[in-house]
Symmetry: C2
DNA sequence: TTATATGTAACTATTATAGTTACAAATATA
DNA sequence: TATATTTGTAACTATAATAGTTACATATAA
């Protein structure tokens, strides 16, 4: 199972997007998410490095750099997931075995297709789409 | 990143499928994968429980229960991945916050679609398809 | 009867994750 | 200006998953 950073990051982004006038502190967000404020600041920092929001030391709150309809879940996922590959492939299979020799490249093309299917679906959903679930 | 069990399981299945007459011991397979025989027996045990192969204590080797073209990567993935959900969702968000109250169900429908996209692609590729990469 | 293989429990090492404390630096407020 | 608050980040901890390993009972083959 993939970690909960994507879930928490989406939660953070929705809180900021839903309250454009209020300044949401990491402590306030942490209470909504039910975690420690540092966990929020850590994920917010990743979102900031990815260019999805702006924030400043000492100044309460953060702002999205784009409208929710222009932010995809893939943008958020890539911001909080440093690893490029979805599936791990075992290292150093035996090059003297016909299967061991070719398995990595075979798995690579196979897994690339699966990862692309996942990323295509993530990029088809915007932050606004997720917020739409709240309007029943 | 998702663990390497799917990669190793596919490697095991291909070795068995490619050598239907030879009896591949866990030690032989382990040398091809470059790991410990117990790791192979552990994953083989999961594949057996999922009904994808048969094996017997004391008897060298294992046999696939279906033809490679009738085994999908989703079959193998589900065999070696006990968790049902692809993405984790944080627990106990604040029910007194409008966002915290609804985030889990919103994420659930969102993540379900992403997981389905991944599983659809996994089920579209058979073990035989992966073996096809070996014939250049 | 002896050797070999599977199946599985149990233990270890490594790593990722998430929570926590602490604090410097920046900003806001009185 | 002085004080309080907040962000950003380092550092530490606890927990869990993963993969590797040893050990051994049981089943099968030679």
């Amino acid at each position: 199972m993939i970690n909960s950073r994507l879930a928490v990051a989406i939660h953070i982004m929705i809180l900021i997007a839903s309250n454009p006038l209020e300044h949401m502190s990491s402590e306030f967000i942490a209470k909504s998410v039910n975690t420690n404020p540092v966990v929020i600041r850590r994920i917010t920092s990743m979102l900031k490095k990815a260019g999805l929001l702006t924030s400043h030391a000492g100044r309460t709150g953060a702002k999205l750099t784009k409208n929710p309809e222009d932010i995809t879940l893939l943008d958020i996922f890539k911001a909080v997931e440093p690893k490029d590959e979805l599936f791990a492939i075992h290292e150093n299979p035996n090059p003297n075995c016909p299967v061991g020799k070719n398995i990595q490249s075979a798995l690579d093309s196979t897994f690339t297709r699966v990862q692309k299917a996942m990323e295509d679906e993530l990029s088809s959903q915007s932050l606004k789409d997720v917020m739409g679930h709240f309007l029943q």
